[in-house]
Every structure is written in C-alpha cells, then in structure tokens.
C-alpha cells in the first residue's frame, strides 16, 4: 500500500511540474505579453519599457526558473490590475468557489446515488427509465442556458431565490444546481452499473439465502462496495467543477475564482491567469491522487495491478 501511495505521489508531483510549465508558457506561446500589458495604442518604445520592467526580455527558461522558484515560496507574482500579490487575491476568492463546488457536488451526489441505486434494484422498470431520461437530458443541457432559465423561473417569475451575489446560502442554491447537474448523469450511471455488478455477486446471493432484510443487503452489503468507484469519480468531477465554475460564477455574479479568471482574461492580467490555471490544475491533480489512494485502500485489487 505504501509503495502504491508513493508511486502515485511521485506521478502527481511530476504532473504538477509539467503543468506548471504549461501554465507558464500558455500565455507566452500564444501572444506577446508585453504588448498586452502596454495596452492599445502603445508605441514600440512603451512596449520595450514594459518588457524591461517586467523582465520579459530575458530568456524564457530564466523567467520560468524565477517564477517557479517564487511559487515554491507561495508567491504567485503580482497582479497587474490589482497591484496586489496573486496569492492574496486567490486566498480571498478560493473559499467562495470551493463552497460552490462542494455544494454542487453535494447536489449531484445526493440526486445521482439514490437514482442509480433504485435503477439498479429494478432494472428496466419505470424508475430506471426515468433516471435514464434525466441522464440523457441533463447531458444535453448547456450550463449557461440552464442557469439563465432557472434565473428567469425561480428568481424572477416565482421570486423564490436571489439571482445574483454570494452573501447567503440561498444565493448558492441555483448556481450549485447549475454547476452540479452536469455531473449527475455520470455518477448515476456508475452507481447503477456498480450496483448491478455487486447485486449479482455470490455474497449477495448468500445474504439473500440467509434471509437477511433487503434493506440491510442493499445498504450494508451492496452499496458500500458499489460506491468505491463512485468516490473517485466524484473527486474527479469536483476538479472539473472548480474549472467549470467560470460560466456559472459570471452568470450569478459570484465573486469567486471563475469570475476573477474571466475579468483577468479581459484585462490581460497574465500573472493572475497563470496563477489560476496552476492552482486549479494542482487541485485536480491532488483530488485524483486522493481518489486513487482512497480506492487502493478500499479495494486491494487496484493497488496490486
């Protein structure tokens, strides 16, 4: 188990390293940063001054080493627009996005697992068909459009929920649903498949033959085993949600990382952009690492292969 965990950790660190190179070069590969900072109407001389001021005239490898050295000390650089450290701004915005992501995941899981279990207990029944329809419709719904429709219906016509801001928990209801429903079909299908698999196994037949209560069989014996892969899928989905919150945050004016990313992109505030890409990627890498280790711990077959 320890060897497995160490191997996975090494891989995670290696991916973190290459991702840091990608997020560093992303903005530089695709355009001239100095021109972007200098803004429209800047003369060649202005751009040259900016280039020297930000050290952009040095070789890329030197810039990268300096940047990554600072990151190891927790310094993500200075925002061009806010004139404040990027790490400080991110520390303010991350809790909002994390709250949103966790609520969205909570919504997805609490809808998907019961539906998946019910669908597996009675395959090809009405409930199985309904959950399949929910899955198919859910996957085709554009997030931004779903968010706007909810806003019109629940915010304006019914007036049940506030349409923008992030002050109270009520503000998070619609954004969490908009962000979370997209993950529902995948979690549901996996729960259904896992339950079907487990329910046809020998130990469930034994439990049934012993005359155990159906509820005990379902929740104590079957669900526990069926849910193992779901845990790791949920971790991966949380990573996707943090990255995908950009649309939902901009629609509901939630002041989180996604919103920050969008305004920084509009302002060509590249230290913030590369900081966000890196932080979100690291979140994803360590969520999947956690999921893999958890899986290996719960299911010995995984760590051996």
């Amino acid at each position: 188990m320890l060897m497995f965990a160490i191997k996975r950790l090494g891989l995670a660190l290696l991916v973190t390293f290459t991702v840091s190179i990608i997020s560093f070069s992303l903005v530089r590969m695709t355009g001239d940063v100095a021109t972007a900072i200098a803004g429209e109407g800047a003369t060649e001389a202005d751009i040259e001054i900016v280039r020297q001021q930000y050290g952009l005239d040095r070789p890329l490898s030197v810039q990268y080493i300096e940047w990554s050295g600072k990151i190891l000390h927790g310094d993500l650089g200075q925002s061009l627009f806010f004139q404040r450290p990027v790490s400080e701004i991110l520390a303010e915005k991350l809790p909002v996005t994390l709250t949103l992501g966790l609520l969205a995941l909570g919504f997805a899981v609490s809808l998907a697992i019961p539906l998946g279990v019910l669908a597996a207990v009675k395959p090809n029944s009405l409930i199985d068909r309904i959950s399949l329809i929910i899955a198919v419709l859910g996957q085709a719904m554009p997030t931004f459009w779903f968010a706007l429709v909810m806003m019109v219906v629940f915010g304006v016509i019914l007036r049940w929920l506030p349409v923008s801001g992030s002050d109270t928990l009520a503000h998070f209801v619609m954004p969490a649903i908009a962000l979370g429903y997209y993950a529902t079909p995948a979690i549901m299908r996996l729960t259904r498949a896992g339950m079907l698999d487990v329910l046809s196994s020998d130990y469930i037949r034994t439990a049934r033959a012993k005359g155990l209560d159906t509820h005990v069989i379902l929740f104590k014996h079957a669900l526990r085993n069926a849910v193992i892969p779901v845990v790791s899928l949920a971790a991966v989905q949380l990573g996707f949600m943090l990255g995908g919150s950009i649309i939902v945050e901009s629609i509901f004016s939630i002041q989180g990382v996604g919103h920050l990313a969008l305004i920084s992109i509009e302002r060509a505030d590249f230290p913030v952009i590369q900081g966000i890409v890196l932080v979100l990627a690291v979140f994803y890498i360590f969520l999947t690492l956690l999921a893999d280790i958890l899986n290996g711990w719960l299911d010995p077959r995984i760590r051996i292969s």
Partner: protein
C-alpha cells in the same frame, strides 16, 4: 443411429445456419427496435439539411437590421406576425433566419473540432495501446497533463490572446478535447492487441502500419464513432459557452451561444429570446448524444450496461 439420420441432423443444422440472420441483419433489427437512436438520427439529419439549405429556407437575410421592427414577439406573442415567425432581436434581425444560419456554425465547429481532436486522440490512444511499455507510459503521462488543465479556462485564455474568430475556436477546441479519444481508444486497442489474429498477422510478418490499419482500427471503429459523437456534442457546447462569454464566435455571426448572450439583457421581459436558441442547442446536442448512445447499444452486445 443410422447414417441417414445423422445426415438429416447435419442438414438441419446447416439449414439453421443459413436461416440465422447475418450480423448485419441483426444490427438492422436492433436499429429498428432502438427508438432513441432513430429519434436522434432524425433530428440530426434534419439539422444538417437545415444547415446545408439554410440560404433557401430563411425568410429574411439573417444580418439585415431593421431598427423600426426591434424585439418583435414571435407568432404566439401579442405582437407576433407571420412575417417574423420567431420575432426579431434587439437590432430588428429576423430570429428564425439567424436560428437557421446558427445551425451551420454549430455543426461546422462541432464537426471540425471533433475531427482535429479525433486525429490527435486516435494517434495517441492507438500508439499507447499498441506499443505499450514506455510509449504507453509517456502517452498516459501526456493524457494526465491534459486532464488536469481546466478546459474552459485554458480555451478562454488562449482565445483572448490569439484573438477570437471561428477558426481560432475550432483549432483551440480541437487541441483541447482529444483526451477521451485517447483514453477510450487506448484501452480498446489494448484489448484488440491481445487477439490471436493480431499475433497471427505479426507472425506472418505484416508491418505495423498494416496491422494497425487492417486489424486494429476496423475492430475499434465502433468505439471511435461513439467517442466522436460525444466529443462533437462536447465541442458544440463549449463553442456555445465561449461565444456566450464573448470569447468565441464574434458578432454579427449568428452563433446560438452568442444569440443567448445578446438576448440576456432582455430575458426578464422577453424570455423567448433565450428560450429559442437554447432549445435549438439542446436539441442538437441531445440528438448527437442519442445517436452516439444508440450506436454503442447496437454495435456492442453488452450495450447499456
């Protein structure tokens, strides 16, 4: 048992073998029984025809502004007329005509981005599965890197630096969404690679391009088609989201995502303005997904589970 009766049973089984439907016939039967596949295929064909014959179908020029006829209601609204069956937008452009032309953009971007990502993902996936070992390790590492980057954010950042246009959106999406092709085709190739006919071809001295094109690709093509439909739907949703955020297709092109974005200011008074392009987008993505799920069901015996 006499020789005669043995001959009779022999001819009976021969007859059964002749009468048994061929795999192709079986597949046609399965397609005929699969209603959601038929629905998906019909909607998709209708949308493709709409896109091809857009110029004959539209009642008005989709770019022609008519400021005296702004925000006309659709036919079911109070001020609706048959002249503008779906009303007009804030610049007085005919909504139905823009909707019809929008199908061209959605299909074009979805298909081209899918093609680019399909080529990248197939090469990586097949190479990893076929060669295994170090090649597999390197490619799996590349896939991990790609997965840890947040797609929406990276696409937005790159598009904002390069400048947004239809071609840029296609290329950026194509370069970003190949991960599922690579993951799925890698495991499919791994399975096929262990088949005896591949070993036989190797023993006969077939070159590896021949084995890949003659033995492997034909046998993983059903997986390829299924992923291709999913990724085309994915690309269409991403394009719409980028255009919605103002970083995708630029006005005055009638992208459905852009139409929703332009209608956002009026959505509380004229909710149909976001409903119409949103439903079109939803239907197209739903149709492609239904088709993909259907193809998976009819080509793989284990189907849905």
């Amino acid at each position: 048992m006499t020789l005669q009766s043995a001959k009779q049973t022999q001819s009976a089984t021969d007859q059964q073998a002749i009468l048994r439907p061929t795999p192709r016939q079986q597949m046609i039967v399965r397609i005929k029984m699969h209603y959601s596949l038929q629905i998906g295929a019909s909607i998709l064909i209708a949308m493709i025809l709409m896109a091809i014959f857009a110029s004959f179908l539209v009642p008005h020029d989709p770019y022609a502004q008519d400021l005296s006829n702004r925000l006309v209601d659709p036919i079911w609204g109070s001020t609706g007329t048959w002249d503008h069956p779906l009303g007009t937008d804030s610049l007085g452009r005919d909504y139905l005509s823009r909707l019809i032309y929008g199908s061209r953009i959605a299909l074009m971007i979805g298909f081209s981005a899918m093609l680019i990502s399909g080529v990248i993902g197939t090469i990586l996936g097949v190479a990893a599965g076929y060669f295994g070992g170090r090649v597999d390790a390197v490619i799996s590492f590349i896939i991990l890197n790609r997965l840890s980057l947040p797609v929406t954010l990276v696409a937005l950042a790159v598009v904002s630096v390069v400048g947004s246009s239809l071609e840029v959106v296609v290329v950026v999406l194509g370069l970003l969404i190949w991960d599922r092709f690579a993951v799925v085709l890698r495991s499919a190739t791994l399975q096929v690679r262990n088949m005896e006919y591949v070993a036989a071809a190797e023993v006969l001295g077939a070159s590896f391009p021949r084995i890949i094109f003659k033995d492997i690709l034909p046998n993983i093509s059903n997986h390829l088609i299924v992923v291709a439909t999913l990724e085309m739907a994915h690309a269409i949703l991403l394009e719409a989201a980028l255009s919605f955020l103002g970083m995708g297709v630029q006005p005055p092109l009638p992208s459905w995502g852009l139409m929703v974005s332009e209608a956002r200011d009026f959505m509380f008074f004229k909710p149909w303005m976001i409903t119409v392009p949103g439903v079109a987008l939803f239907l197209l993505v739903l149709a492609i997904n239904l088709l993909g799920d259907g193809i998976r069901d009819v080509t793989t015996p284990e189907g849905r589970n």
